[in-house]
C-alpha cells in the first residue's frame, strides 16, 4: 500500500510499519468520514438525491409511491428480504433497505466448543457454499494451532473448491439469474425487447450454437429451456468434481486443519479430468452466451447500464494457494496471499489500493448501528494488534462480540440481522468480478493459462470438442448488473483453468511420490491462540476469525460475502451495496399501474450480486404491509413479541436436549 488509509486512523512509517495516527484512535467521528461516492456516481440515476427527503416508514405518501417488499421465505439456509420505496410515475427507486431476516447465531453456538467442531458446524452456514466455510474454518485453525498442509492437500483444496465454483456459478447463471432474461419472463415484462431479440443475430453463434439472442432467451426459459436444463446437468458434473477432491459436496467431512483426508489416486484425478474436459467447452459457451446477451441488453434496453450500478469498490481475500508459498502463518500472509491463483486486495473508486492481506485485514470493521445487535465496544478491547503487530480497531472481527438485541425496529434505527462490514469505512462488494478485477490489475499471477494484463485477463482454455480458445475479459468501465454477469460467465473458464493447473501439479506430485494430503495436528490445550482463514466463497470475500482459549473456542466470527453486500447503512450514512444498487436502478419495465408492476429491474440488480437464496425472492407490492415487523418475527429462532431476548432463545435452542 503506497498511501495511508483514507478514513481509518492508520498510517505507515518510512519502514512500512503501520501505527495509529492520533489519540482518538478508532473513535468514530461522523464529520471526518469520506462518503463512498454514491451521490456522484450516476448523475441521471434514480433515487439517491431523494433519500434525505424521504419520509419515515409508515407515513402517508403520494399516490405514485409504493412500498415494494421482496420477501423470501427461507427457513433453513438463510434469508434476505428487501424493502424498496418506488415512484412509479417517475420510474425511480426512492429508497432501499436490505434485511437479513434470520438470526442464525453460529458465533454463539461455537463458543466454548472444541475448535474442530467449527469446521463442520460453520459449514452449515450455506448449502451452496458447501465447502468454503469448512475450508476457511480449517485454515483459521491451522494458523492458530499451527500446522502446515502438504502440497497435495493444498491442491486437493484448490481443485475441490474450483470444482465447487463451477457448480455454484452455473447454478446462478442458469437457474437463478438466467430466468430474469428468459423469453417467458421478457414476454411479460418487456415484450418489445423480446421481439427485437428474436431479430438480432447472436455474434458468437459459432461457439454456443444459438443463432439469435431470442434463441438464447428461449433457451433460458425455466424448467424447459435448453440452457436451463443443460446448466442443471452441468451442476451434476461440477459437484462430482468437488466430491472427488473433498469426499462429498456439500458439507464435506474430509476437511481438517493441515489438509484433507480424502484418498487421492491416479484414478481419482483421471475421473476428475474426464469431467473437467467437458467443462472446458461449457466454459467457452457460457462466456459467449452471456457476452452476447449482456451486449444486447446494454444496446437495446436504455438505462440497463444503470441497473444495479455501484461505485467500483471491491474487496477480495484471494483464493487457491500455491503450496510453495503457503505456510498458514499470519506473519507471512502478504507473501502467500500474493502467490494465490486469485490475488487478494482492495479496489477503491476503481484504483487498486492494496494486495496485502495484512492491510486488508487491518482495514476491516463491522458496525451494528442498524442491526439487531448491541455494540460491544463498551468492554476493554481484546486485541490491540494483529499477530503481525499492526493496529486493530475495536470493531475488527477479532475484537467483535455477538450480542443479539432485536429492538428498535424501523428503517431509521434497526432493521436487519446483518452487520455493516466496511473496509477503511467504505462499503465493498465482491464476487467473481472482484476476483478477476483484482487479479487483472495486480498482475501478480504467474500461470500458464491465465494471464493478467493490467487492464484485463487472457484465459487460454484447452481444446476439447471445441478448439482451444483464448477468452479475453476486459476490466469494465462501469460496475453494474451486466458486468457482474459477464464476469461471472467468464469466471467459469478461470475456475476450469485452476482445476487444470491443479491436475497437472497433482500428477507431478504423484510421480514424485508426494501423495500425502494432510499433516497431523494437535489442539493446544492451554493458552491463547488466534487464527484467521482467508478463503473466498463463490460470491467472494470470506474470513473466519477464531480465538482459542485453553483448548476451546473463545470467540468465532464469520464474515461472509453476503454480509458485505446485504449490509445495512453504516454509522457514516453509507448505504450497503444492495441498497445503493437498488437506489441507482431505473425502472425500465413496461407497466401501467401498481397491479402489473413486477419490480424486475430491482430484482435483476440485486440478483446480479448472487445473494444467498436469490431465487427464493418473490416480489409483491403492498402499501399496507409492515414489512419490518412481519419479517423480523418470522425469524427461525422463534422470537415472540419481544418477551424473550435473542440470547435466551439461542441458549434455549442449544440446550434444549441437555
Amino acid at each position: 500500500m503506497d498511501h495511508d488509509y483514507r478514513n481509518l486512523p492508520i498510517a505507515f512509517d518510512d519502514d512500512g510499519t503501520p501505527y495509529v495516527l492520533d489519540d482518538d484512535g478508532f473513535a468514530i467521528d461522523h464529520d471526518s468520514i469520506a462518503r463512498s461516492g454514491v451521490e456522484d456516481l450516476v448523475p441521471d440515476g434514480a433515487g439517491q438525491q431523494v433519500d434525505a427527503e424521504t419520509e419515515p416508514a409508515g407515513e402517508e405518501h403520494s399516490e405514485s409511491i409504493h412500498d415494494v417488499n421482496i420477501d423470501p421465505v427461507t427457513r433453513v439456509a438463510g434469508a434476505l428480504a428487501f424493502h424498496a420505496k418506488v415512484d412509479l410515475d417517475n420510474e425511480q427507486v426512492l429508497e432501499g433497505h436490505s434485511q437479513a431476516t434470520l438470526f442464525r447465531g453460529y458465533e454463539i453456538i461455537l463458543e466454548g466448543r472444541d475448535p474442530r467442531d467449527a469446521i463442520d458446524l460453520s459449514s452449515r452456514a450455506c448449502g451452496v457454499c458447501g465447502a468454503v466455510h469448512s475450508l476457511c474454518s480449517s485454515m483459521a485453525l491451522e494458523m492458530a494451532f499451527p500446522v502446515e498442509p502438504p502440497p497435495m492437500g493444498v491442491w486437493a483444496r484448490n481443485m475441490g473448491q474450483a470444482g465447487a465454483f463451477l457448480y455454484d456459478h452455473t447454478i446462478h447463471l442458469f437457474l437463478l439469474a438466467g430466468p430474469d432474461y428468459s423469453a417467458s419472463l421478457l414476454g411479460e415484462s418487456n415484450p418489445d425487447l423480446l421481439e427485437t431479440a428474436r431479430n438480432t443475430a447472436a455474434p458468437h453463434a459459432d461457439v454456443h450454437g444459438y443463432e439469435s439472442i431470442g434463441e438464447v432467451m428461449a433457451a433460458l426459459d425455466p424448467l424447459e429451456g435448453e440452457l436451463y436444463l443443460k446448466g442443471l446437468e452441468k451442476t451434476r458434473d461440477a459437484r462430482q468434481m468437488a466430491s472427488l477432491m473433498l469426499g462429498k459436496y456439500p458439507h464435506p467431512s474430509t476437511i481438517a486443519p493441515g489438509g484433507v483426508t480424502t484418498t487421492l489416486s491416479r484414478t481419482t484425478f483421471m475421473q476428475f479430468y474426464s469431467r473437467l474436459d467437458d467443462m472446458f467447452d461449457w466454459a467457452k459457451q457460457v462466456a459467449f452466451i452471456w457476452d452476447d446477451l449482456m451486449d444486447f441488453m446494454l444496446e437495446h434496453l436504455e438505462g440497463f447500464e444503470q441497473v444495479g450500478e455501484r461505485p467500483m469498490n471491491m474487496i477480495g481475500t484471494g483464493i487457491w494457494d500455491d503450496p510453495d508459498a503457503y505456510n498458514a502463518r499470519y506473519e507471512d500472509a502478504e507473501e502467500w496471499g500474493r502467490a494465490r491463483l486469485s490475488t487478494p486486495g482492495v479496489i477503491v473508486d476503481g484504483e487498486l489500493v492494496t494486495t496485502s492481506l495484512h492491510e486488508l485485514d487491518m482495514g476491516v470493521e463491522e458496525f451494528v448501528d442498524h442491526s439487531f445487535y448491541e455494540d460491544w465496544t463498551d468492554e476493554n478491547q481484546r486485541f490491540e494488534t494483529t499477530p503481525a503487530g499492526g493496529p486493530l480497531s475495536p470493531y475488527h472481527p477479532w475484537n467483535k462480540q455477538t450480542r443479539p438485541k432485536p429492538e428498535g425496529k424501523s428503517w431509521r434505527e434497526k432493521y436487519t440481522w446483518g452487520t455493516a462490514p466496511r473496509w477503511d469505512r467504505t462499503p465493498m462488494e465482491c464476487g467473481p468480478w472482484s476476483r478477476q478485477w483484482l487479479t487483472a490489475m495486480a498482475e501478480e499471477l504467474d500461470n500458464p493459462f491465465i494471464e493478467p494484463t493490467g487492464d484485463g485477463l487472457n484465459m487460454t482454455v484447452p481444446e476439447a470438442e471445441l478448439p482451444e480458445m483464448t477468452l479475453r475479459w476486459d476490466i469494465p468501465e462501469r460496475l453494474n448488473t451486466a458486468e457482474r454477469h459477464r464476469a461471472k460467465a467468464t469466471h467459469l473458464a478461470y475456475n476450469a483453468l485452476v482445476c487444470y493447473t491443479g491436475f497437472i501439479e497433482a500428477l507431478e506430485l504423484l510421480k514424485a511420490g508426494e501423495s500425502a494430503v494432510a499433516t497431523e495436528f494437535e489442539v493446544p490445550q492451554s493458552g491463547t491462540q488466534r487464527g484467521v482463514g482467508f478463503w473466498e466463497a463463490g460470491r467472494g470475500y470470506l474470513t473466519h476469525h477464531v480465538t482459542i482459549e485453553d483448548g476451546v473456542i473463545d470467540n468465532y466470527q464469520i464474515l461472509t460475502p453476503s454480509t458485505w453486500m446485504a449490509s445495512p447503512t453504516d454509522p457514516f450514512d453509507n448505504p450497503g451495496p444492495y441498497e445503493t444498487a437498488a437506489r441507482n436502478t431505473p425502472l425500465l419495465e413496461e407497466y401501467t399501474d401498481e397491479e402489473d408492476f413486477t419490480g424486475i429491474d430491482i430484482l435483476r440488480g440485486i440478483r446480479s450480486f448472487d445473494p444467498c437464496m436469490p431465487c427464493t425472492v418473490h416480489l409483491h407490492t403492498d402499501r399496507q404491509a409492515d414489512v419490518i415487523t412481519d419479517d423480523v418475527t418470522s425469524c427461525g429462532c422463534s422470537f415472540t413479541e419481544g418477551d424473550q431476548t435473542a440470547e435466551e432463545a439461542i441458549t434455549e435452542i442449544i440446550h434444549a436436549d441437555d
Binding site: 439456509a77 466454548g112 451452496v128 437457474l175 474430509t254 475421473q271 418473490h618
Partner: protein, 237 residues
C-alpha cells in the same frame, strides 16, 4: 396421502441376511477431548469415507447404480429429527444387502433428483423426516411427532405456482422429502415402484450430534427399518 400401520416382518431380516443390530455409523462421544465437552462431530463418517463413494458417481454409499433397488435417505445432519434419512441410509448401507443401492441424500433436492435418475432402479424407497404443519426449522413439533406415513410420490401435490423458485431453492438446500419428490417429478420421474416413508419430527432445529433424535422419533426408528425391509422384501419377490 395414505397412512398405514407398520406390521413388522421380523423374518425379512433373516431372509435378507442383514445384522439384527446394525452398527451405527455416527458419533458416540468417545472422541471428545479433555479440554472440551464436545468434539469433532463427524470423525467416524470421515473414517468411512474411504469405503463410500460420497457424492461421486453414482452418488451412492452402498451398492451400484446397476442394482435394481435404491434406498435413499433424505436428511439434514445436525438438525435433530431432520437427520433421520441420513442416519437410516447409513444403517441400511451397513446391512450390505444384495441388489440394494443406498444413497445418502444429505445435500440438495436437485442433487437427489440427479442421484435417483442416475441409475435404472426398478424400486426406489425414499425415507426421511416430514414436518406437517408450521414452519420448517423453527424447533416446533410436527402435528403428530413420530407418526409414520407411507405413500407414493403422486400423493405429493405439485405446486401450481412458484415451481421455478422451488427448483432454484432446491439447488442450494431445502432438503426435504417433499421437495425431493416435487423436484424429481418436475425434472424427471420416479420408477413406478416408488414409496416414500416419512416420519413426523418433534424437533427440527439444531442438534449437536448427527442422530440427536427426540423420543418419539427415536421410538419410531425400528418400525421404519422394518417397513424398509418389508418393502425391499416385496420388491425382491
Amino acid at each position: 396421502m395414505t397412512d398405514s400401520d407398520p406390521e413388522p416382518d421380523v423374518d425379512a431380516l433373516d431372509q435378507l441376511d442383514g445384522p439384527d443390530e446394525p452398527e451405527r455409523y455416527h458419533i458416540r462421544g468417545e472422541h471428545r477431548g479433555a479440554g472440551a465437552d464436545t468434539g469433532s462431530l463427524f470423525g467416524n463418517v470421515s473414517e468411512k469415507r474411504d469405503e463410500a463413494a460420497f457424492g461421486t458417481e453414482p452418488g451412492l454409499i452402498a451398492g451400484t447404480r446397476e442394482d435394481p433397488m435404491l434406498v435413499a435417505g433424505v436428511g439434514y445432519p445436525l438438525l435433530s429429527d431432520l437427520a433421520l434419512g441420513t442416519v437410516l441410509a447409513h444403517r441400511v448401507a451397513e446391512w450390505d444387502l444384495p441388489g440394494v443401492a443406498v444413497a445418502d441424500l444429505s445435500h440438495t433436492p436437485v442433487a437427489a433428483y440427479q442421484t435417483v435418475s442416475e441409475g435404472a432402479y426398478r424400486t426406489v424407497l425414499l425415507v426421511g423426516a416430514e414436518k406437517r404443519g408450521g414452519e420448517l426449522n423453527d424447533g416446533t413439533p410436527s402435528e403428530n411427532p413420530g407418526a409414520i406415513h407411507e405413500y407414493g410420490p403422486d400423493a405429493v401435490a405439485m405446486p401450481e405456482e412458484g415451481l421455478t423458485e422451488l427448483v432454484g431453492q432446491s439447488a442450494m438446500g431445502f432438503n426435504t422429502v417433499e421437495n425431493v419428490v416435487v423436484v424429481t417429478r418436475a425434472l424427471g420421474s420416479f420408477p413406478e415402484d416408488t414409496r416414500v416413508i416419512a416420519v413426523e419430527p418433534a424437533y427440527d432445529s439444531w442438534g449437536m450430534n448427527v442422530d440427536e433424535f427426540s423420543d418419539p422419533v427415536a421410538a419410531a426408528l425400528e418400525a421404519v427399518e422394518e417397513r424398509l425391509l418389508d418393502a425391499l422384501d416385496d420388491a425382491l419377490a
